[in-house]
Amino acid sequence: MKYIDEFRDGDLARQIGARIAAEAHPDRRYSFMEFCGGHTHAISRYGVLELLPPNVRMIHGPGCPVCVLPIGRIDLAIRLALERGAIVCTYGDTMRVPASDSLSLIKAKARGGDIRMVYSAADAMAIARANPQREVVFFAIGFETTTPPTALAIRNAAREGLSNFSVLCCHVLTPSAITHILESPEVRQLGTVPIDGFIGPAHVSIVIGSAPYDHFAEEYRKPVVIAGFEPLDVMQAILMLVRQVNEGRAHVENEFTRAVTPEGNLKAQALVSEVFELRPSFEWRGLGEVPYSALKIREAFAAFDAERRFDLSYTPVADNKACECGAILRGVKKPTDCKIFGTVCTPENPVGSCMVSSEGACAAHYTYGRFRDIPIVAAAPATEEATP
């Protein structure tokens, strides 16, 4: 398919890999964080790590909305379905995230909750139109990419007077999460997570533009290269980061110019700010409470805010003790550092959120990377007829 296939060329990827190996100084280490789950997925799926020299290391970031969604938020959605009789509509990604009482949205559905998977917020509105006697709640999660469609749904519901429709808003913001990581003790004082630069978000940046990252480059002296989600984009971004580090530069560079402009999608931004305002604080799985890191629905659209409509109050719930998702989301640990990775916790039966979504660090490593951890042992020549 156009604009996809040409960015997945293996020969070119190997050549960019050779370039990275030639330009990376052998006497220093390079650690870059890919913020987005989309990049984590691409790196695992296309074997990008195999093409990098050993001194260039990638650290997975928290940019997976399903992974950072705390248990308490999913509990709210489950209770709306089981206790308040609402139809809860949500994206497929959230259905299997573990919540309290051994439940998930999909298990709550099995218990009789009317929980429906939708492709878009507009589909949730259609369900509300078709069920005027029922309350229909859209459980909205996602970063800046996914926020504008939710804003559009709320504004259209207001115009249309769709009075049985509301939104449980869990939209979160990328720049505040990056700031939080840069301010974390692991990065600032302990140095346990050395970060030399960031691969910046692809589709989030289509909406917000490249300008919001200038702050990280200036204030924290960390280079940021915005990159598309295809493997060649990722390879090229790593090369651009290596060059910035070598030259002692910390700038925002844009590899994804075919879709990202400095100012972003102004029409989408205007709609988002018409409908949403900043939340003073929001809990992220792994990062804890992060100030001004999420959005809530403005007073003018209060009728469509499920939190006000059902008088919901948020209660934090601790993660499973054995689960290392929190440390993995902060870049402190790798999926293989977790005792239950691939044994108790698998994509079929996830214990932690990072194993749920295909872009979660654990799910990506389980699906595409775990056999790299096993040393290759040559089989003993058993029979003469053994075929290669």
Binding site: M1, K2, Y3, I4, E6, F7, D9, D11, L12, R14, Q15, I16, A18, R19, A22, C36, G37, G38, G63, C64, P65, V66, Y91, D93, Y119, S120, A121, A122, D123, I141, G142, F143, T145, T146, P148, P149, L152, P201, A202, H203, V204, I206, V207, F229, L232, D233, Q236, L239, E255, T257, R258, A259, V260, N265, L266, K267, A268, L271, S357, E359
Partner: protein, 82 residues
């Protein structure tokens, strides 16, 4: 979650709707979030909404940059670049 794919816009419909063709699959999407898209544009589709448009010239430029990289490679890969 942020997954989005470039798809060819083939038909404009009323109320900010449009039809895209993605590798032979036609789907109606919303174009309410983008300004001035036309038939023939490649829009970036996320959860049923176009959120951006591909700039074909910039795409060419990026591909040319990759090709340039291939020329520069110190140890050319055994396979000839296309």
């Amino acid at each position: 979650m942020c997954l989005a794919i470039p798809a060819l816009l083939v038909e404009l419909r009323p109320h900010d709707q449009a039809v895209v063709n993605l590798g032979g699959i036609r789907k109606e999407i919303s174009i309410a979030l983008v300004e001035g898209v036309q038939v023939g544009d490649y829009v970036i589709v996320h959860v049923g909404h176009a959120i951006g448009v591909i700039d074909p010239e910039e795409a060419e430029r990026t591909l040319a940059l990759f090709a340039e990289m291939a020329q520069l490679a110190p140890n050319p890969a055994p396979v000839e670049p296309a």
